[in-house]
Symmetry: C2
Subunit: 328 residues, 2 copies
DNA sequence: GTGAAAGCGCTAACAT
DNA sequence: ATGTTAGCGCTTTCAC
């Protein structure tokens, strides 16, 4: 109790009107006469009144809060996503309640539980896979759930994801075009569904093409893991191509290749990444990579927020090859 | 109205107890008998009840919401900060209401206004300078305001910042030790207070040392701006040192120097950055830089959240030189 | 157009 | 330890 904020009651008193007149003044469709509105606005101004959204939400069951849960918020990919998303939400008059899962492997159920308590209108999951029970609860409670780059085997929730398998295919074909004979496919140890899809589709395609694939995975999704992969894999002199399922891995791999393992890129080895994070375009790297469209992804999430068309439940966003200089 | 969520009333009915018994069961210090508690918990479980934090907050004036406003959420520095902060808040049982200012130059007043409406308990500003009127309002309304890397000329609000001038000094001394004769100091066009302090302190020190300083500033705080700076400045063959007030700028500058302007680093030119973002440690760069302690910064912010010691209002966090290979 | 009154879901002071 | 009662600040019928 006893806080500094001014209430509508006080404003009403000062303006000499009823408490509901004040409410109406601040409600978009409220019917108030010019005269009253002016008086109210004046009093509110002088008192420094601002509506209490908590009370407002309690009343009409619209908290205006959108829960966002994600891990590794400082990774280039996630942070870019969060950046765009938070801008888009704000633009739509929605607030972003951010919950950091800290670690993608962690169970995000308790976080979503927390979002329920805040009566979030919708929940956007940037990373981590919610258990089926939580998905059910979302539906039961009328909370829209939107999963990014996550493909659950159900049709009753919103999923927005990049076309991983097609992307992996593009990467495969690019390495085929580079005339690679033996390629590495590197992913992190935290086998996220997206990474698994990419590695799987790539391997499958390469097998069809009759090209030998050497899989590697380990560590978190980071530059260091990629570097480590490079050190270990490139002891094998015959590897002349690599698909890293994430740009961060690719950048680390590339540095290991050039700086420690004495390979020239792309002369000795062709490298293709996935994501197209800003760093992939830096002059020291100029990584050839499969680009996810951050804008399109965000756009789809935003529209999924209000539209309830069942047919737009699963949105696959196209990817594209960004040709730079790391593949022959 | 008409939402799926279960209320305490329904739980009470099902458990055959009063509505307050339910409330007490879910309140840490509530005095309830084992028996009642069990009944309540059981009913709550079956019904899928969860407290409504909005209502809870409305009651005891503790929204549990901490407003966080920042711009350029995808930049390495800010995103790292946000990552740590959001983890810390969650750990303390606080929720993070994120507002993206999109652009550091934008006025953040309306965003803070919005946070008032949500009755945020405290507001953390990662970037952007709040106008004095807003600061006053925070104080008037009992909302703690914490500014990061922002030094306002007042003693009634919390500021947590890295020791920019000492850091700039370290950078200067490092370039002196590298025997530079003519050094560039590059900052972005969005002259943030922190950047101004760094550039200012650096220039001052160099002037004392009798070393010529060539200032450059332009563009946003980005890799590209740094690159641009490199291209323009290094037409001057006599520049043999550079202090970039931000790592992102330094990385771009370095690439321009090596890859386009034919300079060897550090043989021909010594480069020192500021921040110590993850990319500064990447093998292709290995930037010598002044490190801000993200952990210490976050730690101070977190403690500033609850402690109200006036003497801890201005917290200056020490910085340190990270010696890598870009300075002779 | 405006005010009175009820109610959103919860907590806390007051009895018992 | 438990139930009753009175709010928290707001929106929304419902009369007028």
């Amino acid at each position: 109790m006893a806080r500094g904020f001014v209430t509508a009651e006080e404003v009403a008193k000062k303006a000499g009107v009823s408490r509901s007149a004040v409410s109406r003044t601040f409600t978009p469709g409220g019917s108030v006469s010019k005269a009253v509105r002016r008086k109210v606005l004046k009093a509110a101004q002088e008192l420094g009144y601002r509506v209490n959204r908590l009370a407002q939400g309690l009343n009409n069951d619209r908290s205006n809060l959108i829960g966002v849960v994600g891990a590794n918020l400082s990774s280039p990919f996630i942070s870019k996503q969060l950046d765009l998303l938070s801008i888009g939400l704000l633009r739509r008059g929605l607030q972003c309640l951010l919950l950091n899962a800290a670690d993608a492997r962690k169970d995000i159920a308790p976080l979503i539980e927390l979002l329920f308590e805040f009566r979030a209108q919708a929940i956007v999951v940037l990373s981590g896979e919610p258990p089926a029970s939580i998905v059910d609860e979302c539906i039961a409670n009328g909370v829209r759930l939107i999963l990014i780059n996550q493909r659950l085997d159900r049709t009753d929730t919103n999923m927005v994801l990049s076309d991983d398998s097609h992307g992996a295919d593009l990467a495969a074909m690019r390495l085929v075009a580079a005339k690679c004979r033996k390629v590495a496919v590197v992913s992190s140890g935290s086998q996220t569904p997206a990474q698994l899809r990419r590695a799987g589709a790539f391997t499958q395609r390469m097998t069809v093409e009759g090209i030998e694939v050497v899989p590697w995975s380990g560590g978190p999704t980071s530059y260091d893991s990629g570097y480590q992969a490079g050190r270990e894999l490139l002891a094998d002199k015959s590897i002349d191509g690599a698909f890293c399922v994430t740009d961060l891995l690719a950048l680390g791999f590339m540095d290991a290749a050039r700086l420690e393992m004495g390979r020239r890129v792309p002369e000795d080895i062709s490298i293709v990444g996935f994501d197209d994070i800003p760093q992939a375009g830096w002059k020291s790297y100029q990584l050839t990579t499969v680009a996810q469209s951050f804008d399109a992804l965000t756009e789809k999430v935003l529209t999924a927020l209000d539209s309830d068309e069942p047919e737009t439940r699963l949105q696959v966003v196209p990817v594209s090859m960004v040709e730079r200089i790391t593949a022959r």
